[in-house]
């Protein structure tokens, strides 16, 4: 279940439904079920991975920049069939999921993420951490991401961002 910011009123049921969405997201990616990942977004979604520095200065460059679910599907195909990379596991830990506002265009949430990467014959290491900044909408009875910004803290470009965050 998730937290809500002061002044926001929600039912325990909505808190639980949002917790389920966030957990489903991490499970799909952590378990390598990448095909399930685009299903958690609406068609006209925005998904970006970008450094905090760029985000705070309003600079548009992002390491990953997708403007529709189709672009997410494209990315999954790339991971499965065309991209070349050393085998690895990327495990995401999401904490502090917080609902900040409910407006006509959806629910505004933030959360912290830490991703630990494990390469073959190496110990697990912190890969990236930062803040999710999300807009979630009710899509015919199912909660889905309309927008997810993965704003990472580091100022260095992650050289091998193979899997989504």
């Amino acid at each position: 279940m998730i937290a809500v910011a002061r002044g926001v009123e929600v039912t325990l049921e909505l808190r639980a439904r949002l917790a389920d969405l966030y957990c489903d997201y991490d499970n799909a990616l952590n378990d390598g079920e990448f095909e399930r990942w685009p299903e958690l977004f609406i068609d006209a979604c925005v998904y970006k991975v970008l450094p905090r520095q760029n985000y705070e200065r309003g600079l548009p460059v992002a390491v990953i920049y997708c403007e529709s679910r189709d672009m997410l599907i494209d990315r999954v195909v790339a991971i499965r069939e065309t991209a070349l990379y050393a085998p690895r596991t990327l495990r995401r830990f999401t904490t502090g999921i917080c609902l900040h506002a409910i407006s006509d265009d959806g629910l505004r949430l933030t959360a912290n993420f830490a991703a630990l990467q494990t390469m073959q014959d190496q110990p697990s290491k912190p890969f990236l951490c930062g803040r999710y900044q999300d807009r979630v909408v009710d899509n015919a009875g199912v909660l889905r991401f309309a927008e997810r910004l993965c704003i990472y803290d580091s100022t260095i470009v992650p050289t091998s961002l193979v899997y989504p965050l």
Copy 2:
């Protein structure tokens, strides 16, 4: 409180009870109250720590392999009285607890774990991360683990797995 997978219906109360079990587990181990650890399992329990590689290929070898609560108790005695190891703290962070199915033999859950180890005069470091794969049963009104697999991501054998995960 925990999340549930799509299609699974549970009360908020059961979510809360499961959250309490998972938290109790981490607290017992994180605070070094090892004697409380076996009490969180049923008598005929299974507890294993094994690499993801072995798990996925169906290979039986595990780093820790216990097939009853008595074997867990035995392990605690070893930690307290016979094992020799450098002093350390192992702190477990569990996120993404998710109830996937409810069947006759219990509740099926998964969760992510990250364990940070702190040796004397050294900074805290990631030790192991991976996925818990659990079966939980209602044992005379108390939720307990019937099975807990600690499937870690790394392909290298942890040389000093002193404390349970």
Copy 3:
């Protein structure tokens, strides 16, 4: 939402309110809204950051030792105006929030924290991890910290503890 220890009875609503407080705390610090931090404590609060070694032996020395909200405000002013330090991000991950007891002087809780620090042009690294030990009170309808001990696992003194935990 948070967990409760065996034998403690609370409503789901109180669990949710406590989750909100804990999340608000992490958000204020993770987002650099330091001015919001003292507001989460009562006037006559205690806030300490100390090593587990000292805590367990009852030794009083702490790396940060504040005995009132005013001292917290003072610290924020220092961070903003007088302290000199290299730019960094400190992101806190709190898991396993557990309510252990409800007594006349407030609610007793513990939680695990891991703080990942990101320096400029460097990857994110574990900075400190440990256990929060808290007393929370209802302050005219708002939950606030009366006492927060940040007991870190490491035995080495963190040389650059710029931001609070």
